[in-house]
Every structure is written in C-alpha cells, then in structure tokens.
Symmetry: C2
Amino acid sequence: MAFSPLVDELVESLRCLPGVGQKTAQRMAFHLLEKGRTGGHRLAESLQSAMAGVRRCERCQNFSDTPVCGICENPKRGNGTICVVESPSDLLAIEQAGDYQGGYFVLMGHLSPIDGIGPADIGIECLMQRINDEDISELILATNPTVEGEATAHYIADRLDGRDVLITRLAHGIPVGGELGYVDGFTLTHAFRGRKPLSD
Amino acid sequence: MAFSPLVDELVESLRCLPGVGQKTAQRMAFHLLEKGRTGGHRLAESLQSAMAGVRRCERCQNFSDTPVCGICENPKRGNGTICVVESPSDLLAIEQAGDYQGGYFVLMGHLSPIDGIGPADIGIECLMQRINDEDISELILATNPTVEGEATAHYIADRLDGRDVLITRLAHGIPVGGELGYVDGFTLTHAFRGRKPLSD
C-alpha cells in the first residue's frame, strides 16, 4: 500500500460501516483528513461514548443511555397500549409521524429459524412478562409486512391466545398521496378488502 | 427526538462523512450499536490516531505518519521524475497500476480562482523549490482532464518555461478493453490524433 499505516488502518476500520466498501472508505478517510479533522475528532469521541454508554432499555429493549428509556419513563405514554416493532428505526418513523401516544417494545429483529433466531433472541419472554405485569389493553403488532415479520406477529398473537388483550395489526392500503395507477396489486387488494364506509 | 442524547450525537457526527445524510447516518449508528460495537470501538480509535497523527509529507505533500513519506524515502523511487497529481486517491490509483517508479507531488487540489484557490494554496512554490534542488529530468503533469486540472497543468508548465525539464501529460485515448462504439467523440478524436505506428 502506498499510504501510511494510520491511513490504511482508518480506511480498513471505516469498512465496518454498512454499505461502505474499499473505495467509499478511502473517499471518507481522505475527506476527513483533508477537510474534516474537526468532524473526525467529534466522530471519534461520539463513537467512543455511544459504544460504551448506550444500552438497552429494561422495559422496551430500545437503545437508551439510562436503564429505562425516555418514552418508557414518560407517564403520559403509558395508556395500556404497546406497539411491537422490529427495530429502533421503525420506532423512530412512528415517533416522527407524531400520532401514536402509547408505549413500545423493540424486538431488535424478527423470528428467523433459518438464521437460528428464536423467540428468546428477540425478547418475547420479556414482552409476555410486561403484558402480565402491566395493565395492557391493546398490543399493536407493527412488524414489517415481510414473511419473517408476519411470522413473528403470528407467533406473538398465538402466545396471547385466550388472553384479554386486543391484538391489532397496522392497516395495509394505498399510501396517502399515492396514485392508483402506481400501486401494486397486493396493496390494492388489501385496500379493497379494508374499505370503509365514507362516514368514518 | 425519540432517542438518547448519545445516539443522537452519534447520528449527527456521522453526517460529517461525505455522502452521508440523516437516514444513512441513522442506519450506520443503529448498525454499529446492534451488531458492530467492536468495529465501532476500532473506528473510534483509528479516527483518533489518524486525525492526530497524519500530516503532510515535507517533500511531496502526500499524507504521511512521518515527516517524509515512504515513497519519498525510498531510494529506488528517486529516478529524476516527478508525477504531479491532484489528490492522494489519484496517487493511489497510479501506485495500484504498479508501473510508475518515480516520485510524486500531490497538489491536494487544483487552481480555482473562483474559489480563491491560488498557486500558494496547492504548494506550487514547494514544487518549484524541489525542481530547483533535485536533479529532475521529467515532470509528468497527471492532473485530471477537467477545466481546472488542465489550467493547473498549463500554469505549472508556464512556470517552467525555458527550464531544462521535460514536461509531459498523460495520454488520452481509448481505455484498454473499451469498445469503440461506446467511446465518446472527444476521446476518439484524441485517440486518432495520438495514433502510433504499429511497430511501437
């Protein structure tokens, strides 16, 4: 290699970022060295503190600096509803929509027997425990509409069979602002089956 | 924001990387927190040492851990030829081709009066000093074939007018393995003008 060991090591370690290959890592390293040393120092520090300080919330499994995260600690968010999502970014999308006011449970994955991921790995027992302990009236299964996401939702629903908890799934349909001509057949079928009287 | 201050700060500081916006930074932060803590620690450390330790080589301006870089210190690379490139990644591309055995001079940019970048900012005086001090027989101007790159090459050539240094520019032509039908007109014109007898 033509470069110094420090630059080589920087390029190599940048490749741990998702979607970053050799060329992109090189471009990032050169950019930081040429024009972004302040940003580089800041990134180093925030990486260090985040890697050391961020843990899982004891109640919802989301990332948190404290044993219990801000949403779980907020008394206004405890209205007896738990929304089950696969990942923190799903939670973030729901929070950014701004409408939902209940609590969350972040699975950090989905059931995937082929990869050896079972109920214990995504904290299903934790969730069951929470439904036992708290006065939960509704469980919204907001896992992704993929094969694994659907399987995970069905598994959770099966586990709660016979319990007095309303289990719901997010509605499928035409995205707001979407045009019918561009919507795929499955979504259209869902939208037809889920149609509502105009007065709603 | 729904997340902890540490995660927010990590997402914000990842945005200093080129081509990384809010969504990509989030994806990177979640990836590191979920699956890549070891990589994250390693990246933090290598960033810290690279930002603090990487300087410019005193002779060629390339990134280096030491006052003079490995290529400049290598006695086999001092054959009286200097190849002038715009950036370390250009140098890397030439090194990876593996054929060139002379020295380098890295401008770290190009002349661009509109951005206020003049000869002093890209170290032209350093280059002139080096041509005075060392026994340089050929200067290869390998700046990019852009308006600024060409202007930079012409400026350097003008400064050396009347001096006993052979000034060359990289050949333009059809890329090896390229098909004529896909080559643009300018490149084809260059290839025609630069044609060579078959015996060469």
